[in-house]
Subunit: 177 residues, 2 copies
DNA sequence: GCTTACATGTAAAATGTTACATGATTGG
DNA sequence: CCAATCATGTAACATTTTACATGTAAGC
């Protein structure tokens, strides 16, 4: 079984009402390294949860901007989310293209492999810096477990970059023999 | 775009022919932390690659055991895999239930949160030990980039456990104030 | 004048998981 | 005798991505 988008949606609405557009924003900002869902996934999920009476829609008329559909969680929705919180934690499901490529690295040229690794190291450094900045900026408004969440993200990207740097040295030794 | 199973299948066949069953075995053993595919995904992928002339099937008649379908990569298949190796590396796609739960941790009881974290720490310690054992056992037969792959897995699980242990301390301080 | 942000949604296609179906042999 | 390993495959269902469709307003 895999983590379903509907639980993430319900989790967000547990604290405050928001629109599908707002949710996607949240995913991009705070969920980057552990969850993502496209609009084509968010909107149908909202429609389905509404049909199941887990959420109710409120249309907010806005001038200058398109109207907004704000969803509010119902008691049924709260129950469903609480059931989720009491269900067993699922394993992380990861699809890491870089690791797949490295596994087959012997079939690629050395330059290609080095490029993959160097680009990833650089990318991860950027992400670590961004997450750290974000963390400093909002930690006062975050719960302790949310802080841990961000920390897991930071350490994940940092650990991967470290391993890749060590890997570069290994490759260097390998080619010099 | 997401990493497609067909490229992983082609990658395995690039070195030697094997069956769908063998592939699943490989995924479980060496790809655990960065890729997985069920039989219901592997077999249809093989059927489709065969239709596209990327692989050819050889039926091996076995006594005592069910017959085996060994697939061999064709030149078309090799080209497709080489194209993949030269395409841009995709970002990791992660769905981490634990992080989602921690993000919403304030809605769960403290015991529940502690249970989530302690269980994950224990699980990761087991995985690290297994990967390390496996690494020692087969590193002589592995390419350098494959070693890096295993190392990324080890460090990923270790870093997450470390962060969670630090998180437990944070939670402790938090409750004592 | 172009892009970005705001905002929602659908349809087609791909992709995937789970459960089912089958059936022999080996090891505890 | 029961579970696991060997081995393949399908069907139903769930889920998701991508592309399309629409339209305003602000900022550069």
């Amino acid at each position: 079984m895999q983590l379903q988008a509907k639980y993430v949606v319900l989790g967000l609405l547990y604290k405050r009402s928001m629109s599908g557009y707002d949710m996607k924003k949240q995913f991009e900002k705070y969920f980057t390294y552990f969850f993502d869902a496209s609009y084509g996934s968010v909107y149908p999920t909202l429609t389905k949860l509404e049909q199941d009476n887990c959420i109710v829609k409120h249309t907010i008329i806005q001038e200058d901007k398109p109207n907004k559909h704000e969803y509010e969680i119902t008691s049924t929705g709260r129950e469903l989310f609480e059931e989720y919180l009491n269900s067993p934690v699922l394993d992380d499901s990861i699809r890491a293209d870089l690791c797949v490529r490295l596994f087959f690295g012997e079939f690629a040229s050395k330059e290609t492999v080095l490029k993959w690794m160097n680009e990833r190291i650089k990318k991860n450094e950027t992400i670590v810096a961004e997450l750290q900045e974000e963390y400093e900026r909002i930690k006062s408004e975050m719960s302790v477990t949310q802080e841990i969440t961000i920390q897991i993200g930071i350490d994940y990207h940092r650990a991967q970059a470290d391993t890749l740097r060590k890997g570069l040295k290994l490759l260097d030794q390998d080619s010099s023999t």
